[in-house]
């Protein structure tokens, strides 16, 4: 007799998803599956479109991180048309990207993943949201979060015309230069951003790290996976969101491989399961060994903690200090603690803000020349950035006129999809015993995937805290065995 628990839909997460948990006769977890029930087919329907339109088309993959796609696509076009943009254009692009990373990471911590931490996973569900967070950090801070987000998004609108689905990326540069007024505002926002990021890290320190219960949770084995890690690094193996080579380290932290993005398909592959529309990435050399971790498994992770694991340090001073402090606290590098992704995310936000400051004060960004017209015949190109949720790769093949003939996309969260499934299985197996399950336990399973930064959150400050869940446990015959509703 198999019993089954369905969590549908999973929440405070990007896109649609559901979790199916199967129990054996003793009421212990036999297996758990996270299924993604949606597909649009971008890789097919961009065929026939002009390559230069790809930044504006592919960014519609995600309305929360369109900038990531827009940038990966634009860089892919540089490669496709064999054109090197002017320095000013490259710096403005990177500046824009830093603002985006700062804004996205900050929002996630306060509205999405943060509540599980700041108020705690065992807190009443009504408090596990931004309101609970505000209760802990104060209304003034809440206003600051919303304020800084708005300022960041407003300045992005000034720079690229739009913030939801930017338009300024072109092969060989960007559509328009910056003005003195815009740069002045960017400098102000950057300064505020650095201060706010430091504040966020202090919040994390006070409310999470100094709380023994939460620290134990972070360090617990339930949320630990010894996987490989992947991320972009610069020539000095330092963290970089915008450009560099892709580096992979093994579960012991040793460099496993480092490759330019052009060689991505020699190093990573996608696995298909019939019960989900989302594919699972793994290291080609290691092969697909199923949802298991360890040195022999091909499963690797990306995004904040992974990026810090693969890098030797951070270029900007304050963030680098925090980087050292984190690893000291967690007991060394690499860290395999899934919940530490939240901490790493805040450190990355600080790096993004510092980078914003550095670039905003670079006089070259005011240069009027931001375009170089391509002359080469296009054929094939690959582009990469680190999206908030992980390594993002765009690969296009075109005809001589630059019309897309083939496209391949490796989309950030995909890199983590195997690890997320693994995490769900491990947490479910560890937490559900003898059929005993309640709302709190289910949330402890859900915090597994939230650590990876589910793409979407809500920035309104009027979320009710309710996490309405319904658990129906069925016998194999279909007869309802046990039902639990928390609302």
């Amino acid at each position: 007799m198999t019993r089954r628990i369905t969590i549908d839909p999973i929440t405070r997460l990007e896109g649609h998803g559901k979790i199916e948990i199967f129990l054996n006769d003793e009421g212990n977890v036999e297996n758990a599956y996270l299924q993604v029930p949606e597909l649009r087919g971008f890789e097919k329907f961009v065929v026939g479109r002009p390559a230069e339109d790809m930044p504006r088309i592919t960014e519609r993959i995600c309305g929360v991180c369109p900038t990531a796609h827009h940038m990966a696509s634009t860089k892919c076009l540089d490669d496709l048309f064999k054109i090197d943009p002017p320095q000013a254009a490259k710096k403005i692009r990177e500046l824009f990207y830093s603002i985006f990373m700062f804004e996205d990471h900050t929002l996630h911590f306060y509205f999405l993943g943060g509540p599980d931490f700041v108020v705690g996973p065992k807190a009443p569900k009504e408090e596990r949201n931004i309101i609970g967070v505000l209760g802990k950090v104060g209304l003034e801070v809440g206003k600051k979060v919303i304020g800084i987000r708005k300022k960041a998004r407003d300045i992005m609108t000034e720079m690229a015309g739009r913030v939801i689905h930017p338009v300024f990326g072109l092969p060989g540069g960007i559509s328009k230069p910056l003005t003195k007024e815009v740069v002045k505002t960017i400098k102000e926002v950057a300064k505020e951003g650095v201060e706010f990021s430091q504040f966020s890290l202090k919040v994390f320190d006070d409310l999470v790290l100094k709380n023994k219960e939460y620290l134990d949770l972070i360090k617990s084995d339930i949320y630990t996976h010894r996987t490989y890690y992947m991320g972009l690094v610069d020539e000095k193996n330092r963290l970089n969101f915008y450009d560099g080579k892709i580096r992979v380290v093994d579960p012991e932290g040793k460099e496993y491989v480092k490759f330019p993005v052009k060689e991505y398909f020699k190093n990573i592959e996608e696995h298909v399961e019939p019960w989900s529309y989302l594919k699972f990435l793994f290291l080609k050399d290691k092969g697909w060994k199923g949802f298991v971790d360890g040195k022999d498994s091909g499963i690797y992770r990306v995004a904040p903690l992974a990026r810090l694991n693969v890098s030797d340090g951070i270029e900007t001073p304050r963030a680098n200090e925090e980087y050292d402090r984190m690893y000291k606290t967690l007991g060394g590098k690499p860290s395999h603690l899934t919940l530490a992704f939240h901490w790493a995310r805040l450190i990355e936000a600080l790096y993004a803000a510092e980078n914003m400051e550095r670039l905003a004060n670079d006089p070259e960004i005011l240069h009027p020349k931001v375009r170089t017209i391509p002359t080469a015949t296009p054929e094939e190109g690959v582009g990469v950035v680190e999206a908030p949720r992980g390594t993002l790769i765009h690969h296009y093949k075109t005809d001589k006129r630059g019309i897309i003939e083939e496209a391949n996309l490796i989309v950030a969260t995909q890199n983590n999809s195997a690890a997320i499934n693994m995490g769900i299985q491990k947490a479910a197996k560890a937490l559900i015993k003898e059929g005993k399950v309640d709302e709190g336990i289910l949330n402890l399973i859900e915090i597994t995937f939230r650590a990876y930064d589910p793409c979407h959150g809500c920035g309104t400050h009027l979320l009710p805290g309710h996490v309405p869940l319904e658990i129906n446990v069925y016998k194999k015959s279909g007869e309802l065995f046990y039902s639990f509703r928390n609302h």
Binding site: T2, E14, E38, V46, C62, E270, N408
Partner: protein, 323 residues
């Protein structure tokens, strides 16, 4: 008096429309305080079962974004239709099919094969494709069915109002929400945006010469784009003349031409046809061969003119190859 209930749902959406609502939060505090949000899967934890338990018509307004590509999306749209007084198609995908609508240039089989079989980085020697039902060791797992084509929202349920744009602009959303709460709505079936074309409010309109005449169309990366001149005058394809006003010309401000995300103006039956009309009227030639040469400089007519609106076109998908 209890607050009116409001719900949000997303079908085949990118989440940008939800971001657009979040971006308003500061601006429409009073509006949001006046309603009770009862369902918003992306941001809140209410479930489908909660909606099923609500009395029919008890949700005052439901905003649905995203096109319909999979069976679950149609089921949810139909459920919400039952439970809601008003349904507003929110954003270009719900309004016209949006960017996902470009998939109508391809057959379902082609899409699945590319994603799961022939993709360069996919290793799938057994040729596994996602299945509506899969038997695993422990039981049966289900996922929704991927349809043969993309549908706009009003092709599966009755829609009361449309909020156009990808994503709709702040003003459009705020005005619509205010109108709904005050009960001052235009006739059902209306698009809640101005009825004229973007050129009417575009700052570059003044720079247009009396007659626009194009000997050659350019693609945006082929020329340095002037920041003040009308794009059409620069030989760049801008769909402003065929696109509904209301977005605030944000792409124009970004120094890139309009792609038509707000959809057609009031009277147009087919956006692509209107855009084609507008662009072809610029061709500066009366010679058959020269006209052909100029037409050749337009790289992707169907994909450009129907960028956001293919599912709602008179010919909503590529004609099947074999009869």
């Amino acid at each position: 008096m209890s607050k009116p209930k409001v719900a949000f749902y997303w079908c085949s959406s990118c989440g940008g429309c939800d971001e657009a609502i979040v971006d308003l939060a500061e601006d429409i505090l009073k509006v949001i305080e006046a309603v009770d949000i009862v369902f918003w899967p992306v941001a809140m934890d209410f479930k489908t079962k909660d909606v099923e338990a609500m009395p029919d018509g008890s949700i005052a307004v439901t905003f649905i974004s995203g096109a319909v590509r999979l069976s679950e999306q149609e089921e949810m749209a139909k459920l919400l239709r039952k439970k809601s007084g008003l349904i507003v198609a929110f954003g270009a995908c719900a309004h016209l099919g949006g960017i996902p609508g470009l998939a109508n240039f391809f057959e379902k089989k082609e899409i699945l094969e590319t994603v799961y079989l022939t993709s360069l980085s996919t290793s799938n020697p057994q040729g596994i494709l996602p299945q509506v039902e899969t038997e695993v060791k422990e039981g049966i797992l289900t996922i929704p069915k991927f349809y043969d084509r993309v549908y706009a929202l009003d092709q599966v349920i009755e829609v009361d109002y449309y909020l156009p744009g990808c994503a709709p602009s702040k003003d459009i959303i705020t005005n619509a929400l205010t109108a709904i709460l005050e009960g001052k709505l235009p006739p059902k079936g209306s698009v809640l945006a101005p009825s004229n074309s973007l050129c009417a409010s575009c700052k570059r309109n003044e720079s247009k010469p009396e007659k626009l005449r194009i000997k050659k169309f350019f693609r945006p990366h082929e020329v340095i784009i002037d920041q003040a001149k009308c794009f059409l005058d620069q030989g760049l394809i801008c769909l402003g003349p065929a696109t509904r006003d209301g977005c605030g010309s944000r792409c124009i401000e970004g120094n890139m031409p309009c792609e038509g995300c707000f959809g057609p103006t009031e009277k147009a039956m087919d956006m692509g046809a209107k855009a084609l009309s507008a662009i072809s009227s610029l061709i500066d030639s009366q010679d058959e061969d020269e006209i052909k040469r100029i037409v050749d400089t337009i790289a992707d007519p169907a994909g450009t003119f129907y960028r956001f609106s293919l599912p709602k076109a008179l010919i909503p998908r590529k004609r099947e190859r074999k009869i």
